[in-house]
């Protein structure tokens, strides 16, 4: 039993050394209310901006205004929500 424990302990240490400890990730980021709120806002807006940018550019290129713009607007919003979700979700893929 104790051998098992020491193995688990060594495994955890080795994983932490390789940066795979799920607990340590993101622990360093500031956790203040304003900081988190601002980060969430920036993530949401920047995804939307990237989505709109891609849609607008593709539309100009392919001459399909405004359809791709609308599609990428929605996709950008979804990506923004996904980013905010990842901000709060524990590390590891959802």
């Amino acid at each position: 039993m104790s051998e098992q424990d020491s193995f688990e302990e060594r495994l955890r240490q080795a994983q932490a050394r390789r940066g795979k400890d799920p607990g340590s990730a993101k622990a360093g980021l500031p956790r203040g209310n304003w900081g988190v709120g601002f980060r969430a806002g920036v993530e949401l807006v920047s995804s939307l901006v990237v989505g709109i940018g891609i849609g607008w550019f593709l539309d100009r290129w392919l001459g399909t205004w405004p359809w791709l713009f609308l599609v990428f607007f929605v996709l950008g919003s979804a990506a923004g929500v996904l980013n905010v979700y990842r901000l709060f979700a524990p590390r590891g893929r959802p």
């Binding site: 940066g19 990730a25 980021l29």
Partner: protein
Amino acid sequence: MDALSQFELKPVFGALGDAVGFTQSSAHMLLAVGIITALMMLGTRQRALIPGRVQALAESAYEFIHDLVTGQIGDEGKRFFPFVFSLFMFILVGNLLGLLPYAFTFTSHIAVTFALAAVVFLLVTIVALAIHGTKFFGYFFPEGAPKALAPLIIPIELISYLSRPVSLSVRLFANMVAGHVMLKVFATFVVLIGGSAGVLGVLGASLPLALNVALVGFEILVAFLQAYVFAILTSIYLHDAVHLH
């Protein structure tokens, strides 16, 4: 005197600077690089067992980023230490320089912060491609997701990935601009109120002045915090690139 004129770029160093478009922003970047180089060179010259002030400063900066990088990325992170350290020191010194009177904050320009974020983004992508090859593209489609959802998931993941440099640069830029605009606005209040109504005006002006003193302290905190956030997010992105999960 408006609050935004402080961000205007003006060529310096006479006709030569004018000809090549060498602005006060570039001058402050050079100054920042000079300060960092001087700090690290002076700090490591003595190599004392018991460090003096400059050596202690250089060592604590080094150890701070070293712990951050190895803590976030793991042992492989040591390869990226020089990159993250340069990035952190450049942003930190730039932020702090901008708080001095008459100085210019080059991190308050989206062009500068976006260039830094783009370098990070390119490095992260190249590292991920170099280590994992085509497996990197699996990053955009989580394992076990239904194939039918691919047309929806891949563009969303792609946009989410592409939004990284945007959010990274906008965060730093917006924080610096907001802080400096606030400082300027309250400083204008001091002048306007103080010069308007004699003794009463001077009494009234002490209020925004006190607020400005507190704001400068807060801005020093923000200068450190934003450089730290930039460095730690770079490390997190590099962690994703190295381990790819």
